[in-house]
Amino acid sequence: MKKNILFIVFILTFFIGFTFDWPVTDGFLMPIHSYFAQKQGDNFVHSIIFSHKTDVFASDKGRILLKDSENYSDNGWFDSPLGNSIVLGHKNDLLTIYGNLDEVLIDDNTKDVDITQKIATSGYTGWYENVASFAFQIADIKNKTLINPLVLMKERQQPQGVTIKNVVAVNKKGSVFDLATQKYLSTGTYYLYREATSMPFKTQVSVNGAAVEIISYDLLRQIEDKLCVEGKKNYSCQQIYSKDNLQFLAEVVLSRGKNTILVTTYDILGNQNLSRYFVEVK
């Protein structure tokens, strides 16, 4: 618990100092196709991905480090998975990354861009071609982390609401129990999952009043050769989304007797949603 409080204090201190403008007009109203740390293929989404085509603006004053707007694969170059893209360097070792662009509007002589300068139009050039558009990332080089861009925006988006549906407990043998209907379980270790229909900012699981896991989706940290979200442990994408359409909540040890499992999800504004489950453990 103390570790979590310290972590939250650190995050707040860090984030209060750095805010970015939305890279799209009225971004707080713009529909989002994919949220940070959702599942994308076999990986976490590294960005927020907007649904519609839009003009793209620099979210802060910065140095142009990369503008990639051509395809040279005829000559053996690899296709950029980000599609056409721009990378800007900012103070305090932060990078902003603009992917899935259509036209890059920065000419070869431009070295720096100002905040809110129009730098591109978004397109459908990357993974979500014809489905979603502009992808926006913020990376912290010093701490080797990706930061959920929604945390650093000056104006917050209205949250979509995070529902808690179909919470299941999976035992070590892989048997799945629906906690809404299952009233009896055997003692042992279980992995709890929720249906990954909406993306929370944080999830928490308590058993009999004691918090056993808090997983935060504000950062993705590089741990060796994997990106991980932080909870009691570091969890890779394969661990969080190990089961189809399910999102990992916690590993819990259920002991004999009556157990109350409380699942809480938080949105970006701290609004919480609760679900309580009662199981008799024999």
Binding site: N43, L65, L66, P81, S85, V87, G89, K144
Partner: protein, 385 residues
Amino acid sequence: MKMKKKIISFISFGLLFIFIYICVATFPLKEEFQLTPKWTVDLFSSLSNLQKDSSNVFQLISDDLLSDEKFQKKEINQESNLIPYKLAQNLGYFTPDGKIISYQTFPFKASVSKSYFTIYANDSHSHKIYNNLGKLHCIIDASGFPFLQEDRFYVFSPGGAGISSFDNDGKLNWKYESYVPIVSFQSSKNACVVGFADGNLLHYAKNDKKPTSVYFGGSQYQIILGADVSELGDLVACVCGVDNQRFIVTRITDGQSKVLYHEYLSDSLTERTFVQFAKNSHSDDVVVFYQHSQGLGVFSLNKMKTYNIGIKGKILSVAYTPQNNSVFVLSKLQKDLYSIGLINNRYEYIGSQTFNANNAFLHIQDNELYIGKDQSISRFDLQIK
């Protein structure tokens, strides 16, 4: 209209040949250097000579190959002289004597190497790898964008920051996920290098599961804009950093990196940048070609020196032939304007010729130079007399 296009295509190749020939002929060479045009083929007109292969509705194969026993078995021939091409949304293979043996269009993206090709959708979760005769070789189960080099298979993850390596059967060798996008990548027989937007350069030696990670520093912003690795896998060259951009050659062995050479460049490029070790070099010297803001840099490891050549435009490909150490450079000047430059003895710039095209490629094999341009491919032979 089609005929007119063909005529324009043939005339432009003719002019290109005349230019290169004049350049070569007038330059005071110790030995006489000859460039002989062998053939030009039009991809679309070749289609009338092709038939659909019944086992793969997309693949079109030359009539005369259909009766070939090896082809019927669709046995891949690694030593075969099939040359891959990819021009806009078309790919396939042709022979050195000018036969287009396969032609395939693709709606989204594709990757083709000498031995294999794959065509993939924008959101593919698995990838069918075909050999150069169109037979299904293996399936790679991984989300992302596959990239084939020779017989080596890689998949870039969606989001741009991860890469996986697969063996020849499509089984995962290793996977690396970063928090920043991959900007540069190259592989050779014995290693591969991955350059990231935070200045991290990864080196995977063949059969290694864990990479060597190197940060060079020395610039205001660290980013690996271009990188290549030598055939032996121990030497890595890169263009890195913005604001005090550098060209660096380093040796990486046993997890340790030792910088052999570095040079600050006069200005910073901010795009993916060409870096390539000279291939097929018969000399003892190690030569690296790289782009900088003033043109092409040619680095000699023996001399520990770089030579700068004022090639204009975005350098896309460098074709090196040991014959007289000649180097052909394909660069893109504008959206539909390309240039081919000729360098002799590695460092002596002879001249260049521009031509209009939406897509172009340059390929060299032995002493045969192949130039692809929109819908046609031409071969020129190089000789020293």
